[in-house]
């Protein structure tokens, strides 16, 4: 088991390193540098800024300095906003995005599993058909489009829920729902098919022959086996939620990290863009790693 963990850590570190190196060299492969014509700077000021940011040094030296800074958690200063550092931006805005993401994940997992259970228990009935239809239609709907749809109907047309900013619980509803939709239907589909598979196994019959009620059999024998499979699914879903948060935060004007990322793109704030790309990349890879590990630990067959 330990060997497996070490292997996975090695892969994680290699991937991280590859991403860090690629982003660095890609940015430096661009003609010019961040301080050329787009910013309204005079030539002397631009030269001074280059010196200050160490951009006049040979590339390899810059790379080493970059890695050193990264190791200390320094991702550089924002180029548009005086006095703001990337790590500072992350520290202040990420908690909001994290909250949004976790709320969406929670909704997705509970709703998805519940739908899966209902679909299994009522096989052949209208519930199952309805859920199947819902999941088929839902899985193709990008969270960005759903976000705007919900904003239009619940906000503009029917004026039921708030559609911007962050603070009250009501304000979290539409954004979380937009993000949670695809994960919910994915989980529902996947969980249901696994549950049906599991229920056809002989050990379910044996459990019933021991006198266990249908409910007990479902909860103690079927669910643990099916839930284990859902765990693998969660890694990619988190990636989906994270990426979706960029646009959802933009649509609902939520002051999270995603908003910063999107605006840094239009602002040409390269340090922020690069820093946040790295942050998100590392976050995603790390969470996939964690879920892998979690599943490995929980499944008796693997260890």
């Amino acid at each position: 088991m330990l060997i497996h963990i070490l292997k996975k850590i090695a892969i994680l570190i290699s991937s991280l390193w590859i991403v860090i190196t690629i982003t660095f060299f890609l940015v430096h492969a661009l003609p010019g540098d961040p301080f050329t014509p787009e910013l309204p700077l005079s030539e002397e000021v631009a030269a001074a800024m280059r010196r200050q940011h160490g951009l006049d040094q040979p590339v390899l030296v810059q790379y080493i300095n970059y890695l050193k800074n990264l190791a200390q958690g320094e991702l550089g200063p924002s180029m548009r906003y005086e006095g703001q550092t990337v790590q500072g931006i992350i520290a202040s805005s990420f908690p909001i995005s994290a909250l949004l993401g976790m709320q969406a994940l929670l909704i997705a997992v509970t709703a998805g599993i519940s739908l899966g259970i209902v679909g299994t228990l009522r096989r052949g009935g209208w519930q199952e058909k309805g859920i199947l239809l819902l999941t088929t239609l839902g899985i193709s709907l990008p969270s960005a489009i759903l976000a705007i749809l919900l904003q239009y109907f619940f906000g503009f047309k029917w004026e039921l829920l708030p559609i911007a900013c962050w603070g009250s619980f009501a304000q979290t509803l539409l954004p979380s729902l937009s993000l949670a939709a695809i994960p919910t239907v994915s989980i529902a589909r996947f969980f249901q098919s696994r549950l049906v598979e599991v229920l056809q196994q002989d050990y379910i019959l044996i459990a019933r022959s021991k006198g266990l009620s249908e409910m007990r059999t479902l909860i103690f024998h079927a669910m643990p086996n099916a839930l284990l499979a859902v765990l693998t699914y969660l890694g990619p879903l988190i990636a989906h939620i994270l990426m979706g948060s960029f646009i959802v935060e933009k649509v609902y004007a939520i002051p999270g990290l995603g908003q910063w990322f999107v605006s840094s793109i239009s602002n040409n704030d390269y340090t922020v863009t690069m820093g946040l790309t790295l942050f998100y990349g590392a976050l995603l890879m790390f969470s996939t790693f964690l879920f892998d590990l979690l599943q490995y630990w929980l499944d008796p067959r693997r260890s």
Partner: protein, 263 residues
Amino acid sequence: MKKIKIGAVLFLLITLTALCAPLLSPHLYHETHLAIKNTAPSTLFLFGTDELGRDLFVRICFGVRISLLISLAASGIDLIIGLTYGTLAALSGRRIQILLGRLLEILATVPNLLLATFLTILFGCGIRTIIIALSITGWIGMARMVRAHIWQLQTEEFMIAATSLGASRPHLLRYHLLPHLFDSILVTVSLTIPSSIFAEAFLSFLGLGVQAPLASLGSMANEGIVSLRYYPWRFFFPAGTIYLLILSLNLLADGLQERRERC
């Protein structure tokens, strides 16, 4: 079977309309009528007009073409690179196998969409950059699938039988492996295309999509967001088309997957 039919029909419907309708429509793609800008859908303008008075229906038809161009190109490149890499990784000598395999595992953990976004940010947004950015990360899934599938097929009896009868490597590859791989490849490709459409829409919503005067479905939808309150059709028609395209392809992919499992 039903799914394949519905998906295929829907997809063909949209594609054919996109290809033929502009030929039949009285409106031109770039024809602007500033006097009638931002009008709601009517019999004259099926989908309404945009902020420059251009017919939205025709624009969407062209948008479909561009979105499909991008996704088909990206998926095609993914197919070629992925198939090659996967085959090599599965069939080469021991050391190369391990090397390629490790590399694949590491690359697979890199978040696709994020990297594609980053590449587009850096190298500017044009059709070519977007296609390249999408392909650079997309081939990994195909490579993994191909590698795993070939490994699995190698242990199947018909392969062992053919080898023991003296079949050579290229012969094995062409007449025995590829036909079996075909089904899986078909399913994977039918999944990469909608995900490329999705990715292109994603990039557009970030402002990184195709630039004017060209318009993809994603960029049109993105422009429509601003005027959502007053001219909702400018968002809903492009967005709806994106949705239907993705839906039809997903249905197709699902149906193909189910049919494959049944054999």
